[in-house]
């Protein structure tokens, strides 16, 4: 008492890149907008507050861009030398930046002149960040020191001299106002606690550290240096969790996607790789024109901004959700229609009888179920089906043949209908995956319509086209056989190592046949 079994549609594996949720998500961006900066873009930082402006540090300037503006809406250019690491405060109102001359400057977003000027570093300051309590600034410099500054009275609070080489990257914890991490060219990452005056964790990365990142929870620490991206477990005292080697040049920047599920890394090899933070496998990657120095994502991953060595800033905006077509929607039945009878409370003696759920069938399946074979064939010969999904048409033809009614379904067609069938044959006959089914169908058509040939010029032309196609295909096959023969001769002249006739096919050919039902 089984129900009707729908026709099995033969599926064919799609060649090329595998389509996953990630490829769909990360490909859903518009073509990038290119903005030319004055020098290599060393830092991009998004304001955490709406309207999510972003600060771009390049050469001796800091530009603030609006989300969709191509021109800077504000510029800070009061630097004598190269500026580094312009970073927004959590409330988006203050901006701090280091510079080549060793100064650290604090700006108000609305103002032009620096609010504070922290002097103390003797060499270039490459990294600055606000601590979680918003009132302190951490800076690391090429004089091997890390300093903590107080904003209200612009004083230096602490100095850490634990690194033995340039400090080039750093990151403050988002939760604890006293914790921050710095990475240095001495291959180490150090986590400092402002309460203890010394580093609490120190881990060996193995290469000069270019970028560090703390997870929002503060439990995991990511470092990039050399070709490696390494993940450290802070809660286990800095144990190495995983080491990723997916770039073939130095990794320069790291970023977390807004959901925290994906980690992005940019590298000098001009690629941005996206990792899953659960399995640490690469799920997607982007290519850029030049070596990447900086990378940032906007709130909700709406925008990807990448800064490159050639001074080009590439801005990609997410495609807006496809708007529903504004056609006046047909009035749907009222809500009460749907809940009619559903809210009836079952009484004690009632027997509940559910209406059997209806199985959805495709239109051609409905026709086949009722043995309307010609109608079913007509449906799948609609242009919308033959062009988009020829495998459905072929599967239905195959099914009709299996039922022994293909000749019935093809017979009795007028000029327009038969030319539609012939068009489909002409388009698909030479495809190897469809050929066995369609050759059979073509034979049946020729058998049926042979007596009426010559009555319609349109159909005659199609038959001639089909004939030409078959002849071309035969020639092609002959050529292939000739090539095969030549190759066999070449192989025969080569001496074989083994006396037994064993050979191993490349398994690729069979992989094509494989289809995994998940």
């Amino acid at each position: 008492m089984a129900g009707y079994k729908p026709v099995a549609i033969q599926t064919y594996p799609v060649l090329g890149e595998k389509i996953t949720q990630d490829t769909l998500y990360w490909n859903n961006y518009k073509t990038p907008v290119q903005i030319k900066e004055f020098g290599a873009v060393s830092k991009v930082d998004f304001s955490p507050q709406p309207p999510y402006n972003y600060a771009v540090t390049a050469s001796s300037r800091i530009h603030i861009y609006g989300r969709y503006s191509q021109e800077p809406i504000k510029t800070f250019s009061r630097f004598k030398d190269t500026a580094y690491c312009a970073t927004f405060r959590q409330d988006g109102r203050l901006l701090v930046a280091g510079s080549e001359d060793g100064g650290v400057q604090l700006f108000d977003i609305t103002g032009r002149a620096p609010l504070r000027h922290f002097e103390g570093h003797t060499k270039a300051v490459h990294t600055v960040d606000f601590t979680a309590d918003k009132y302190h600034v951490v800076s690391g410099a090429d004089d091997y020191t890390v300093k903590l500054w107080d904003i209200p009275n612009s004083k230096e609070i602490l100095t850490f001299k634990e690194h033995s080489d340039y400090v080039r990257c750093g990151c403050a914890s988002k939760l604890n106002p006293d914790l921050f991490v710095t990475g240095s060219y001495d291959h180490t990452l150090k986590m400092f606690d402002a309460r203890t005056n010394k580093s609490v964790i120190s881990v060996e990365h193995g290469q000069p550290v270019e970028s560090v990142l703390l997870f929002p929870s503060g439990g995991l620490l990511v470092s990039a240096g050399g070709r490696y991206v390494k993940i450290w477990d802070v809660l286990k005292g800095g144990q190495l969790l995983v080491s990723l080697k997916n770039h073939h040049k130095t990794v320069t920047c790291l970023y977390l996607s807004s959901s925290g599920q994906r980690l992005l890394s940019g590298s000098l090899d001009r690629k941005v790789k996206i990792y899953s933070t659960t399995s640490y496998k690469v799920v997607h990657s982007f290519d850029y024109a030049a070596s990447i120095l900086s990378l940032a994502l906007a709130h909700e991953d709406e925008t990807i901004v990448v800064g490159m060595t050639n001074g080009i800033l590439s801005v990609k905006h997410r495609k807006s959700e496809a708007k529903k077509d504004s056609l006046p929607r047909r009035r749907r039945p009222a809500y009460r229609t749907f809940i009619k009878g559903k809210n009836y409370m079952r009484q004690r003696d009632d027997i509940l009888i559910n209406r059997p759920s209806k199985k959805h069938l495709e239109l051609y399946d409905r026709d086949l179920k009722n043995f309307r074979v010609s109608k079913a064939l007509d449906r799948v010969l609609e242009p919308s089906c033959t062009i988009k999904t020829p495998e459905i048409t072929v599967s239905i033809i195959k099914e009709l043949n299996r039922r022994g009614v293909l000749a019935n379904a093809l017979a009795g067609r007028d000029e327009k209908e038969i030319s539609r069938v012939l068009n489909f044959l002409i388009r698909n006959l030479s495809q190897p995956r469809f050929a066995p089914v369609l050759i059979n169908a073509a034979e049946i058509i020729i058998d049926i319509y042979l007596p009426v040939i010559g009555q319609s010029p349109v159909v005659d032309k199609k038959f001639l086209l089909l004939q030409g196609l078959v002849e071309k295909e035969i020639d092609y096959q002959r050529e292939l056989l000739e090539t095969l023969g030549m190759m066999d001769m070449l192989f025969a002249t080569m001496t074989r190592k083994e006396s037994t006739s064993v050979w191993q096919h490349a398994s690729d050919g069979f992989l094509e046949n494989k289809k995994v039902e998940s």
Partner: protein, 630 residues
């Protein structure tokens, strides 16, 4: 050594349930059906078998309720006895010995102390309906030799006999005749269809008959799909008939409901048709019953119907045409391509079932566990259609994997092959399709076998084909961060001088693979897929291959088409012994060193299969132990 008496045949079941109409008990709680030498009592509510009434020594051919006592059941059999049973307790009450082969049984409430049976006395094709007087006696076994003749030259099928209007007359059909015998008048009238005489290929043969329970009305089914309703048949001249036509093929059975308001009919279409008030317009359908309806019966209480189907199944149907229970026996398809297998997990017998299905049949409980739909396509029941056949199946890895091969060949060059690999899902307790391979080989697949050795963690499957290749398929990890998945891919393709690969077999520990290429056996290392050695006896194509087990694992047995059984020693790579034995089936015992080889004995013309059990270690002395099974 295998002792002769250690082989004993136990009849487990698997008999036909659809041989005769099923019978309901008076309260519709039980349904009775014949099953080989037994009568089975099933509950209509739970489908479970409640009792098996055993006692007949031959096929049971008819069952009827005792009209005088609704808790008793009559049965008749080819062994010449009519037995009376108490079905509530499942005990035999009385045996009436008639002494003739009984083909069918009928009872009538009006004829209290007699039953009607169909016998044939003289010619093999001429059957008579006789009434047997059942003498009253207290003894268990009573002779009942008092026969009185009722009708001659009738069809042997009980479907062609019907008693009407509380036993006033009996109607019988055969070929183009409808004969009616009136018990009171003691006359027989015979009716023919006017059109049937002259036409040579007339297809309106009578196939079945049913009588209205209240009125004088007879319904007959015909080969062309028509149903005729006969009235006024007590008059040879004035009789009339009307015609009902829906079936496009032979009407297999007819039954009136208890009140006579509706008529049920069924046939090859597997649709139960209910004709209300005997009119053509007023009909209801219950479609998609799965197989040809062979019999229809109606419960005496009138609340249930039941249909017996050609796939050995009985469906209990509620009065409002809703199927309520299915009693499924062993499905016997015409071709069992897959052979017999045992599911390692459920220990059920597995073989071809319904078209396109594998059936799992429990031998212990004599019932079907479930059907696995392999082909998953709508089955079109029509003559001359080339169906997709399920040709090969094999279990692997302790029942975790099932491999099946299906094929359809329309013309010589157009072969459609598909191999499917099914994984056992512990949660749903069933097989789930994992991998589908289109055209795994260019030509027919001749054998497939899994490597069942314990040390192989990675499941391995080998298929051999007539295209001259054998392919090794392995399970590979296909998972990514989104889902965990496994799939099968081809790992190695081997061939030997373009000969057809005919058999393949793994050794017990899985280290060696034997593939036979027509007359030659090749041995491959399963680690590296290197050809190790070949054996050739030039004694015909190899039909079966089998490795020895346990202490005999150094031997390889091969049976050829020319009737030679060879045993090779794998250590010395030489023929150990050979014997003349035309082996049909060869199967190793999974628990011992024995290998059962079943051969067709060349003595005499009757097909007698005798199994030889040969213990390879002992068979160095070339001794076979013969036990006759049949």
């Amino acid at each position: 050594m295998v002792e002769e008496e250690s082989v004993r045949v136990v009849r487990c079941g698997g008999s036909e349930l659809n041989f005769r109409r099923a019978v309901f008990s008076a309260d519709s709680k039980y349904i009775f059906c014949v099953s080989g030498d037994f009568v089975k009592v099933h509950s209509t509510a739970t489908e479970e078998c409640v009792h098996i009434l055993q006692g007949h020594r031959n096929l049971v051919t008819g069952i009827q309720l005792n009209p005088n006592n609704h808790l008793q059941l009559y049965s008749c059999s080819f062994d010449g006895t009519v037995k009376l049973w108490d079905y509530v307790d499942g005990i035999l009450i009385k045996t009436f010995v008639v002494g003739l082969k009984l083909h069918a049984l009928f009872t009538l409430p009006s004829a209290e102390d007699s039953v009607f049976v169909i016998i044939n006395k003289e010619k093999p094709d001429v059957f008579q309906l006789v009434s047997v007087k059942l003498p009253k006696s207290s003894s268990q076994e009573i002779e009942a030799k008092e026969l009185s003749f009722v009708l001659d030259y009738i069809n042997q099928s009980p479907k062609c006999i019907a008693f009407g209007n509380e036993g006033e007359y009996v109607a019988a059909v055969r070929d183009f005749y409808l004969s009616v015998y009136f018990f009171k008048k003691k006359t027989t009238s015979r009716f023919t269809l006017s059109s049937s005489r002259n036409k040579k290929h007339a297809k309106n043969n009578f196939t079945c008959v049913a009588c209205h329970p209240k009125e004088d009305c007879i319904a007959t089914g015909h080969k062309d799909g028509k149903i005729r309703l006969w009235r006024n048949f007590d008059d040879d001249k004035k009789y009339t008939y009307t015609c009902l036509h829906w079936h496009h093929d032979m009407v297999m059975d007819l039954a009136f409901s208890v009140t006579g308001t509706s008529l049920l009919s069924g046939g090859r279409e597997s649709v139960l048709v209910e004709w209300r008030d005997a009119t053509e317009k007023n009909k209801e359908f219950l479609p998609r019953l799965g197989a040809t309806i062979e019999h229809i019966s109606v419960s005496p209480a009138g609340d249930l119907f039941c249909t017996s189907h050609s796939d050995n199944k009985i469906i209990v149907i509620h009065r409002n045409l809703e199927a309520s229970a299915v009693i499924q026996g062993l499905v016997k398809d015409s071709n069992i391509f897959t052979g017999l297998m045992v599911d390692p997990r459920t220990k059920a017998l597995v073989l071809n079932g319904k078209p396109g299905h594998l059936q799992f049949y429990s031998l212990q409980h004599d019932k079907q566990l479930y059907n696995l739909d392999i082909i998953q396509q709508e089955y079109i029941n029509d003559y001359g259609l080339i169906q997709i056949e399920l040709t090969k199946a094999a279990f692997g890895c302790y029942g975790n994997w099932l491999a099946t091969v299906e094929q359809r060949q329309e013309k010589e060059t157009e072969l459609e092959l598909q191999m499917k690999l099914w994984m056992y899902n512990k949660k749903t307790q069933g097989f789930v399709l994992n991998t589908k391979v289109n055209m795994p080989h260019e030509d027919h697949i001749t054998a497939l076998c899994f490597c069942n050795a314990e040390k192989f963690e990675n499941p391995t499957l080998v298929t051999s084909s007539k295209d001259g290749h054998f392919k090794v398929w392995i399970l590979t990890d296909d998972s990514d961060i989104y889902k965990k998945a496994v799939g099968w891919t081809c790992d190695f393709v081997g061939s030997y001088h373009k000969y057809q690969a005919t058999n393949c077999c793994f050794s017990e520990d899985g280290s060696l693979l034997a593939v036979s290429f027509e007359e030659i056996v090749t041995i491959w290392d399963s680690e590296t897929w290197e050809l190790k050695c070949t054996f050739c006896q030039r004694a015909g194509k190899i039909r079966h291959l089998c490795f020895g087990r346990l202490t005999c694992s150094k031997y390889l047995l091969g049976a050829t088409e020319n009737g030679i059984l060879c045993c090779w020693n794998l250590l010395s790579c030489a023929l150990e012994w050979s014997a003349k034995l035309n082996v049909r089936v060869m199967e190793p015992d999974p628990n011992s060193e024995n290998i059962a080889a079943i051969s067709r004995s060349s003595v005499g013309s009757d097909c007698k299969y005798t199994p030889y059990f040969d213990n390879t270690s002992k068979s160095l002395t070339k001794i076979f132990f013969l036990t006759s099974l049949i």
